[in-house]
Symmetry: C2
Subunit: 93 residues, 2 copies
């Protein structure tokens, strides 16, 4: 199993738009093969900071996710809302 | 419930020392009141990148953790091993 941590810092005033966009992404992604967990978190101290924590069966499933229609479509829109992004792929120690 | 994501980028060649130190930290922290999950992850693509994902009942439990003897003792040693740290406290969206 692999764990993805993907942090986004949004441009000012984009929180509602981001939440609306990612709702569909979450619904569609959770139906994907090999998706064990796909949860969006919001920073409780810093506005506009969000992180997805994702658990996937293996790297192939994650690559399929990156190639999915919903990820490409919504991902392109989300990209416009953020200032920066930090993504890492982990295994448990 | 709150979720903490704490990412460390280590100085060159400090991975083994970091893993040894954090083993005790993990064992002790998992016994703490309000600790639901406390897992260390290692980046599978980038050496020396580690992230704790932690689930706590509430902020009071997390503050008690920061004040615990094992956190203060091991935290001070870990600090010497890393180049940078990024910590966020989240709630589920």
């Amino acid at each position: 199993m692999i764990t993805v941590v993907a942090k986004s810092i949004l441009k000012e005033g984009k929180t509602d738009e981001f939440k609306n966009l990612t709702r569909e992404l979450i619904d569609e992604t959770r139906k994907e093969k090999g998706c064990i967990e796909y949860i969006l978190y919001e920073d409780i101290e810093n506005g506009g900071v969000f992180t997805f924590i994702e658990k996937w069966e293996d790297m192939d499933c994650l690559q399929d996710h990156f190639q999915s229609e919903h990820f490409k479509k919504i991902g392109a829109k989300v990209k416009e809302l953020r200032k920066s992004r930090d993504i890492n792929i982990y295994k448990e120690v």
